[in-house]
Amino acid sequence: MESIFRTIIRFRFLVIAAVLGVTVVAAMQLQYLRFESDAESMIPPNDPVLHYNDVVEERFGMLDLIIVGVLNDNPQENGVFNPRTLGIVKEFSEKIALLPGIKAVRDEDVTSVATMDNITGTSDGMAVDPFMEEPPRSAEALAALKDALFDNAMFVDWVVSRDGTGLLIMARMESSEGTLEGVARRAAIYRTIRDMIREKEAVGVPEQFHIAGRGAMEVTFSEDGRSDMERFLPLILFIGLGTLYLTYRSLRGVLLPFAVVIISVIWSMGLMAWLRVPMYFISTMMPVTLMAIGVAYGIHILSRYYDEILSQVEPDAETAVMAAMQEMWKPVVFTALTTAAGFLSFLTAAMVPIRYFGVFTSVGVLAAMVVSLTFFPAVLSLLSPTASRSLRNQMNRSRDLAATGWAARTLSSLGRGVARRPLLVWSIAVGTVLICLIGLQRLYVDSSWIDVFHKQSPVRIGDEVLREKFQGTLPIYVAIEGHEPDLLKDPNLLDKLDRLQAAVEQDSIVGGSLSIAEFIKRMHRVMNEDRKEMEVIPDSRDLIAQYLLLYSFSGDPDDFDEVVDYDYQHANVSFFLRSDHSADIERVIDRIQDFAVREFGVEENGGQAGDHDPLTVRFGRWVAGITPTVIGWETKSGFWIGFAGQGYMSNRFSELVVSGQLTSLVTSLLAVFLLTTCMFRSVVAGLINIIPISAVMVFSFGLMGLLGIPLEVGKSMTASMVIGIGIDYTIHFLNKYQLKTRDGLVNPEAITVATMATSGKAIFFNAAVVVGGFLVFLTSNFKPNFYLGAMMALNMGACLLASMTLLPAILNTFKPQFVYGTMPSPAPVMRTDYAVSPLQEKETV
């Protein structure tokens, strides 16, 4: 290795030019980098559950909604039943119907009190009248409108809130068809409506407005994502540069590690652009993550370089660089490999964006390693070997690195403490792990789609308000798939669907439901002089067929698409949920499926759910004890029953992510064990390396269990990242500890103190940058990012602590052979670069 670094230093200008050249080429590729904001990209291809959702949505012509809530809770104004509020709803409904990208030919195609017809039974037939043409002005007319709305159970909680203080406007958006124009058109819908609202707010109307629905989420998602990116980069630069400056008090100490990071970010993103891999939402974490990790190599090399300079009376640039590189190349390569392995374990994820995130972050890590081993020493050898004056003075006074600088002093005394009281360290560590193991039993998975957004995010507030006041915004679909046409004219089946709705609506989070049964019931009542007792499913099949015919006359040909398909072979029962927490969703799904099993039966040999999932998902599911999501089954009643909808999807989604990440946790732990075993050429070393990191894992997930914090997407992703990055600390520590014994130290306390004063210091600064970097995520607009940042910061801190306390305790207690060698310890080998090491002088004196 020595010759390689000599060559690098000899041809340093060439090396610098080459690295900068590659960087320029990579930077030129960046113009092709594309941002993919479509949420669909997170859906893994070929997933049967998610694919089935597409089938259902396509079969029943389901389109994404954009929902506007207009609220007025002033009793003096009779809630929303006053001319102004109604006028606003009318104005908005009509304007929205005319927006490009809204599926509306007429105003009636937008659903609201201002556009809908009221169908009522009369003594001799039925009447179809608009609820209102113009907002009524007189008190009687307003009261009549209110009565008409509340008389029809279908409208309550839907277009009007139960308490009469809110009205909804719902519009269906045309599919973006995956084109950029389509996506832009949908975004424009949301922005136009937002402007309409702002205009009203500007003139001071007392109404409150909220926008919800998929369209609102999409736009907020991409707007917030962009603002995150714009805020993160300067923040992490500030934190990173600040920490480095505090560490080295020199310009090179700040700029060189950062140059490494910036180059590696450009390389990996340039490669992404060159391969035409788009930036996904999750990829926005990549630059920040790389910044937090990539500085580490520079820090460790610089640390050793400064130790060398301080140790020499007349330091020489090339000698100092050579000394640093000779000692550090191995741990740098090792730690880069383990970190890359940690991120590569994301390849087990089902989601394509997570896989790409893993792959290109590991590319970035390896790039940072290459640059740290070439460009870094090349530049460093050009600079004059000086350390800060205060450090040099301290060194001159004490002749001891352990007493030079506040960090070294603090860490040395920590090392001394750890070495002197191993029992204390052991009991704290074992105690913590045991307590957290209990917490691990209590850990549960729960994710929420809307909780991705920040609490103050208008789209989250809007969603919360609207699903509280109205029937709920999250749908679960139950698809009845007949094997021949006209199945849905069967009175018996319709009656069961009706009872299914009633049974499921018992659950308080189910705000409402909709099926063809409800329309038939309503029609039966209307056609029978509006008598309440006639609101049942009639028992004549022909009458149902005739009602359906009459219904088919009443609106557009595809009006009923969402509840029954064209030849009455398939039906869809929609349930609307007020909560999107997977625990709640699961409870509702259980209710639905219990009813279905009881009333419709299950045909045998239907196959086991989740059988076709990839091994990685099945393994993780087994570890976490998650029940697989069922698509549906063949019933004994002559049809297939299937389950879909956003609620169902989000459950499947968290099942895939969490189980995938658990697999990746196990994979990365295994990879790290194998890698460290090879590096230290000892299985015991591999084991010792993964003990502290495993303790941190138990601590982190156990703590979540103890605090009752559920596991979800963002948090589950931290596991393999922590392993990949945290293992660096134990590797560096172990490496130095080993070197110190090879240098002839035999006393565990002395070795510990010496390791702490040198590598310990570097590890400390390294962890400080990483923790600081991930703390930036706390400012994110997205909750998963926030949790990820908090978890990473906490876990990296825990890793730091574990590798400085638990690891030396293990080494000091067991004195493993791969470190201490076979007793008696070999005679001290004097190495040229350590010849005048003050530490050694002190120890041998």
Binding site: R106, D117, T122, G125, V128, D129, S540, D542, D558
Partner: protein
């Protein structure tokens, strides 16, 4: 003063010349409005009996097929009515004997009177529904497309004259007078000789081509009538095919056919 009066007179002359030119879009051809009036006044008989097979196909290729009998009588403004029609469902079997009666009002703003008889319910029900922009019997046509639309409800402009295999066609643009109408405009191809309309394009309020209606015509007893109508919704992919057969004109249909009482009895 005199000169001013002269100038005004001259100005009026110029103005009327301009508006005259506007009325007659293509020299030597009747104006758009004139063509619309001619089409409206085309002979369509005093009454009519016909059979129809409806094939409705949605964008997923699923179909609904219905077989109906239709009785129609022209009222020409008598009792404020423009026409009455009686539709009887022959099939599918589960809706057989369902009948539907419509009294179409002359006044465009007034609601039509409609009754339906559902045999399984054994009741005649009156349906009070006014919206002429609603779908006609669940097809891709709305009530307004099915005739009865008054010439005055649109402004008409002759865009051009086309030749199709030796047939002279007027291309008429009809723009609704009423604001917020379901269509922003219609383009109508009109056979200059027979005054039949082989093709109509409907544009929605956002200016997109919404529907294309194509019609095959046949001459029966000197009256031109639909033989086959195909309407394709360009936005939803839904399609309506209407095949009309057994057309008989001027059968002297009695008024009693078009009453509530006859609904229960089924086809006369």
């Amino acid at each position: 003063m005199k000169t001013i009066g002269l100038w005004i007179g001259f100005g009026l002359l110029v103005l009327s010349a301009v508006s005259l030119a506007d009325a007659q879009e293509i020299p030597g051809e009747p104006s758009g409005r004139e063509i619309a009036v001619m089409v409206d006044e085309r002979e369509d008989g005093d009454d009519q009996i016909s059979e129809a097979v409806w094939t409705l196909t949605n964008s997923r290729g699923k179909t609904r097929k219905r077989h109906t009998l239709r009785y129609w009588k022209d009222y020409e403004g008598l009792d404020g009515l423009s026409s009455k029609s009686f539709i009887y469902f022959e099939s599918p079997p589960d809706v057989k004997d369902t009948t539907f009666l419509n009294w179409s009002q002359e006044d465009a703003e007034a609601d039509d009177d409609q009754w339906i008889y559902l045999p399984a319910l054994r009741k005649v029900r009156r349906i009070a529904s006014g919206d002429k922009e609603n779908s006609f019997m669940g097809s891709d046509m709305i009530y307004d497309d099915m005739a009865d639309r008054e010439v005055e409800e649109d402004t008409h402009k002759l865009l051009r004259v086309e030749q199709d295999n030796g047939t002279k066609l007027y291309v008429l643009e009809s723009t609704p007078v009423k604001e917020n109408y379901i269509y922003s405009k219609k383009l109508r191809w009109i056979n200059a000789e027979t005054l039949t309309e082989p093709r109509i394009e409907f544009y929605d309020r956002k200016g997109r081509l919404l529907k294309i209606l194509t019609t095959e015509w046949e001459e029966i007893d000197g009256i031109w009538n639909w033989k086959r109508i195909v309407v394709e919704n360009q936005l939803t992919g839904h399609k309506t095919e209407l095949d009309i057969s057994n057309v008989r004109f001027n059968q002297g249909l009695k008024e009693s056919i078009f009453t509530e009482r006859s609904l229960r009895k089924g086809a006369p």
